[in-house]
Each structure stands twice: as C-alpha cells, then as structure tokens.
Symmetry: C2
Subunit: 445 residues, 2 copies
C-alpha cells in the first residue's frame, strides 16, 4: 500500500486497491470536483442499498485499520504539526490538529459505537392503507451525496465519514489545509477498508487537493451535492451559508442563555451554572450569558461560585451594583451579549421579568439553547413557549443539548436552523424519505 505519509501535500488518496486518480491540471478544478461528485453519486447508489450488516462490518474494518495503521497516521500528523508550528499556529489550534494513540483509539471506538446503532435506512416514518385500498409507506432513504467542509480537526474526517456510511450516503470531504497530510492518511485507510469489505471506496472522497477553489465549486454543485454540512467556527459557517448554492445544514453556533428566575433554588442554580459554564467551556452548549431577575435570591451565590471557579464576569451596570463582596466584573457591552466566548467568561445582565429575558434572548441568541432556572410553573411555561431556539431547558444544565445525552446515539452536529433538522442531529437527519405507493391497477377518480 502507498505510504501516504510521504505526501507533502494533500494528493488524492491512493492505495493499491482503491481507484487511482490522477491530479487534474490547474484551471480544471470545476471539472475535477464535478468528477469527484459524479463518482460519489455512482458510489452512493451502491452504499444506499448495502444492508446494515455490511455497513457495520465496514465501519468496524475502518476502526481496526485506523488502530493497526496508527503509525502511518501519526507520522502524517507530525508533518502537519511541524508545519503548523513553523507557521506560528496557536497552541489551541495545534491541540485540535494533534492526534495521539489514545485519540485514534477513540475514533475507532466511536465507529464501533456507530456500528451498534440502528440503521435509519428503511425505517418506515408513516404508512396506511387508503380507503380505496392503495398501500402507502413513507420510508427513510439516504440523502445521496453529502459534503462536509470543516476546519483542521482530523477527527471530523473519520466522524463524518462514519456517519455518512452508516446512513447509506457517499461523502465528499473538504478539511482544513493545515491537516492535509493527516486527512490524506486517514482517507487512504478508510477507502482501503471500504474496498476490502466490498463497498465502493468512492463513497468517501476528498477535494482537499483543489484548495479553496475546490471548496467553492463544491458549494455551488447544485444537483451533484444533496446536502452540505459546515463544521467549525462562526466564520467558516457564515462563509458556507452565504456562498453555497446547494442545501446547507447550519450547525453549531451557540450563544446560549440561562435565565435565573426569582425564587429559584440557590443550590440548584449554583450547580447548573457551574456545570453549564465550566465543565467544557469551548463547546457550543456552554452558557455564554446569564440573565438574572432583579429579585433572584440565588444571584449572589451564583456570581460568587462562578468567580471562585475562575470565570471572568462581564456585567451590565445593574449587576455591577449588586456584586457580592470579593467578586469583580468587567463592564459588559453589546459585544458581550453577541459573543460566544467559548472560554471561562460569562456575560451577566439584570432583567425585570421573563418577558425582558425573552426579549434579550430574541435579540442576541443564535437559536441553539436557552434555559430557565425557576420554581414557578407559569413562568416556566411562559419561557418554554416564548423561546424560539432548537432547545429550551427547565432546571437542567445547557450541556444536555447533545445527541449523545438525548439518546440519539451518534451526533452529526447541532443544527441551529429550522429546516430539515433542528437541534442535535442523529443518523436519521442524514436521510430523506420516499413515498412508496402500491395499488392493483388503481386510477384516480
């Protein structure tokens, strides 16, 4: 097999068993990316009809191959990491880019978990026999060709490939160039494992070699790409959403609010805020703004606990006035209300009512998750009805907006749009449906 670690740039993945593509001449990027998509379409027809046992076997084979060939992956990763260091990439980004034996084992375990989940393909969404005797079923079928554009996180390569395969789709990947060598190594191993299990290697392809221009062509490939999923930060998602001509599922931005009501239990409020802010500050279901009712008795304890946990508080003037002794805060402005800190920072504002809290949320929320901590039934109902976000939470941590926590098994991402999927997306959200209508010569009267 070709040792992909020797590739200094992201060439097409080649193995001795999978298809051998030639790099296309520059200027023909559109043609080349369309050719990738057309191969994906052909592969999608085969993978769509593969049964669950077959797909699960492939997922396990991929996981085993990743572990068995971890040295190849780690060497490729080392090349990317060295290039990143030389370019002055930040420590945080280098950490995201970095793979270890343990992380590779984690990828394999995730694939094993995926193999254990039910197959969404073939599930009957609804069905009936009509009064005239026509039999009707609405059945889940794969979307077809899924594309993903993401940043330099090599785990997403394996993650999205696995999710796409399990749901019977072909996938076209476009990862960040900083992870090009790692992704090429992963792709080679994945395609090889597919081939060995009798599934088309072209069910998983990359357009990394075509750079930004390739990504642009992918975004415009109407009819060739059935759905495009951006995974990454605000800028990446906005670029994709604004430029794409193919259907997009917007994921992940989380400007998450907690409203602390009058009369809320102090201990509960402290526990929830600490969990929602400090357990994993860099993820999208972390709370970013706390809205405090003017008479919320639990507020001082909550602010104190956050400060003691090392959280920097950005407070509006009314909160500044009631800060408990020993707690300091910076002055919050509109930037703070708008911002996803993704760090140990929280914006805090005082409000006069649930209505005021809802108004603040309507103005600033990204539509991901909002929570209320309360002991009042009417106000909890008012909050549930008034929030227009993917998830609304009563008396629990915002960290529960997560596919795994909500029992969806694997998670494709958290959709913050209203079309197709909203909130944590499981495998089912990578399918569409088809109506199957069976008669015995029925005609319409």
């Amino acid at each position: 097999m070709t040792d992909v670690t020797t590739q200094q740039t992201a060439h097409p993945t080649t193995t001795d068993t999978a298809s051998t593509k030639q790099p296309e001449p520059a200027g023909n990027v559109e043609q080349a990316v369309h050719a990738v998509a057309d191969r994906a379409r052909t592969a999608s027809r085969l993978i769509a009809r593969a049964n669950r046992a077959h797909k699960d076997k492939a997922l396990q084979a991929i996981g085993e191959a990743l572990v068995a060939r971890r040295d190849v992956i780690l060497r490729a990763n080392e090349v990317d990491l060295e290039a990143g260091e030389a370019n002055g990439t930040s420590k945080a980004l280098l950490d995201r880019l970095s793979l270890t034996e343990e992380r590779i084992a984690g990828l394999a375990a995730a694939l094993e978990n995926l193999a254990g989940l039910p197959d969404p393909v073939g599930t009957v969404a609804r069905g009936q026999t009509l009064p005239n005797g026509v039999r009707l079923r609405q059945v889940h079928v794969p979307l077809g060709v899924v594309a993903a554009i993401y940043e330099a996180r090599p785990n997403v390569t394996v993650d999205i490939a696995g999710l796409a395969l399990k749901s019977g789709n072909a996938v076209i990947l476009r990862g960040g160039s900083a992870a090009a060598n790692t992704n090429a190594a992963l792709l080679g191993i994945i395609r090889d494992a597919l081939d060995r299990t009798g599934l088309p290697a072209d069910a998983v392809q990359t357009v990394d070699e075509y750079g930004r221009e390739g990504a642009n062509v992918l975004m415009k490939a109407r009819g060739r790409v059935d759905v495009l999923i951006p995974r990454g930060g605000h800028d990446l998602i906005q670029t994709v959403v604004t430029n794409a001509a193919v259907p997009v599922i917007e994921t992940g931005e989380g400007n998450v609010h907690i409203y602390l009501d009058e009369g809320a239990d102090e201990e509960m409020a402290v526990e929830i805020l600490l969990n929602a802010k400090t357990q994993r500050p860099s993820v999208c279901n972390t709370v970013e703004t706390l809205l405090v009712h003017k008479d919320a008795q639990a507020a001082p304890a909550v602010l104190k606990a956050l400060a003691e946990a090392g959280v920097r508080i950005h407070a509006d003037p009314r909160i500044q006035e009631v800060l408990p002794s020993g707690v300091s805060a910076e002055t919050a402005n509109d930037d703070d209300w708008a911002r996803e800190y993704m760090d140990l920072d929280i914006a805090v504002a005082m409000v006069d009512s649930v209505d005021d809290a809802l108004e603040h949320i309507r103005t600033w929320s990204s539509g991901h998750t909002e929570a209320i901590i309360t002991n009042n039934l009417a106000r909890s109902e008012q909050f549930i009805a008034g929030v227009d976000s993917a998830a609304v939470i009563v008396n629990a941590s915002t960290r529960f907006t997560d596919g795994g926590e909500l029992g969806l098994g694997a998670e494709v991402g958290i959709s913050t749009q209203k079309m197709h999927a909203r909130g944590p997306m499981g495998l089912r959200e990578l399918t569409t449906t088809k109506w199957i209508i069976q008669g015995d010569g029925h005609i319409r009267r």
Copy 2:
C-alpha cells in the same frame, strides 16, 4: 372600507381596521421589505401561540368574508383581466387569472376544510424520560415567517395564507403583477377578517407593491424569512432556487415516468396510462414519458388507447418501428425526454430492462414521481429500490402523488427536494421542531 378595485396598481392593502402602511419612497425597497418582514416576525409570535379554535375561527371568517365581498374581488379581477387582454396575455393564463363566483366559493370551501384539519403545532414528534430522569419532548412549532413567490394565480394567495395561518406562521406574499389588483382585494379582505377575529393582520402581508426588486430583497432576507416557497413553472422556480439566500422548498416540477414491464396486464396498463396522461394533463403528477420494455405485451394496446384519446406520441426509433397500425408518432429527441409537456403529449422510449428504465429515469427525471406497471415481484422491488424520487408507484396512476389523495389533508405543494420535506407537503411540513428538556437540577456528569 377602502374599495381596493379602484387601485390601478398593487398598492399596500388598506382597510379601515387593519394597519395603514404608507408607500415607501423608491430606492428604499430593501428597507421597506425588511420592515414588512419585521412586522411579520412580530405577528408570527402572536399567531404561533394562538390556539387551534382561534385559528380555525379566523379561517372560517376569511372564507365567509371572501364570499360576502365577492363583488369587490370580481371587480378587481376584472381590472386585471382587462389589462391582461390588452397586453395580449394567452387564453390559458387569463383562465388561471380569472376568478368566478364559483371559484371564490371553492376558496372558501378549502378554508373550511383547512379549519377541519388537526393543528400540527404542539404535536409531540417523539419523547422519553432519560435514564437520569430528564424528561424530553420534541414538539412541532411553527417555522415563523414563511414567504411565497408565485405567478398570476390569485387562488394561491388565499391558499398559502390559509395554510400558513393554520400552521401558526406569518406569511409574506409576492404574487404575479398581472394579478396585482385581485391580490390586493383578497389581501384586504383576509387582513380585515384576521383583525376582526383578534389575530394580527400583519400575519398576512404582501410585497407586490415593490415589484421585482421587492421579490429580490425577499429572497435575500436571511434571518428575516424562515422559508421561501416558490409556486409556479420551471423558470420561476429556477430563478428562486438560484438567487435565494434564505432556505427554499423547491416544489412542483414533474417530469414523471411510467415503466411498462414485460408481462404487465394490458387492461391495467391502458387504464393507468389514460388516467395518468389525460385526466388533468396540466398538473405536475401527470405522466410525461412512457418507457416500454421491448417485450411488453401491453404496449400496442396502450399506444392505441393514448392515440385514440387524442394524445400526441413522441417516440424513439425503436418504438416507431412497432407502432400499431393507425397510430402515428413524431420522432422524439432529448428535448422530449427532458420536457414537461403539461399537455396531451407523451414521450415514449423502448428499453431492454428495468435497469435501462432506471438509467433513463436517473438521466431525465425531476425527482417527482415514477411508476412501474408489472406483475413481477422481483422487478417491482428492483424498481422501488432503484428510483430516487419523492414517490415511487407500483400498479397505480401517477396522479396519486397528491396531498389530498395520500390523506395529508391540505397540500402546500409537492417538494422535489430531499431536505426538510419530500413529496406532497402537508401542514406538518410548515413547522419545525423544538426540544423541550425538563430536569430537577440535573447537571451533566
């Protein structure tokens, strides 16, 4: 009340009870359309929380008002028809534009039917109590602000307004300019009836007065418009799909195929083809191409019956050779395979197998509906699995791809895309979902 029939152009709808908008200065179209959308957003919050009884009362009030004020509508319609005739508009288009007492009664009856349908809002899609005791519900909620761009069919104005209201959404309409006076009259009556039943008149608005520029602003209004539904012919839909920056649901194009298998029952084949082609040739679920297996015994009888029913046959060379005596055919080319005739025309090709039929369908289909007429189980299964369209039909007329026929009640349109909704769209498809997560101080471990 203002007599809207005196308006020679599509001015803002004004009634003495609904809001009174002033026409915006030219050049401020973007600002004006955004203001319409912002009023729609405010109205959407009220209509989203209106209960079913209230919404049904409003639908009935609209229907009654349309009938009671039919003279106003018919006078406005007369102005549009006269302008159309003066402009040399075709008879077919004038017929679509034309309203009669009977058609107005039909619109009222459709609203009455809508009032009788269950409310999709509040339906629980799924739910469970998690192992840790957290209660989870995924509930259907309105999309928010729905926009519709359509051609000069005034019935769509009432139709879409009713569907949007029943599903708890505010709607922004952009109808064809040829129906501007009729639409203004309808809008005035609808808004007035909303106001009288205590629902916000701004739940139904138009941007007709801002012309093409207004339509363009609407298509780009990300964050202000939650979903845009184009209703009309190929060109309208392609314009919207290509230019829109807001989420779009593509509807209605139907290049529909029937595959006539070897061994299919002759009588069944004749009945289905006649029904699928001649019952209502101008609609999207009408068959446009017949694919005939080379040994299909039913073929001569089918071709003869179609010809006798006045259907013009466009045949490939192999079909030309086996035409029954007395049946003539034009020569078909790629234009015929691609085309939606929407008239008494059918393209006919001979194929050697189900695979060949599937290949033809993959190449030319718009993804609406494909049918097989067969008595062979394996081939019917092969066809069902191989077709990638919204509906696949066995031994029944393609005319069954219809919301009413499939028991969905009202129909928003027939989606030919894979995201969000595929096939006939009912009221449920005008909703999104919201996860409601309830705990008792739960935090994530």
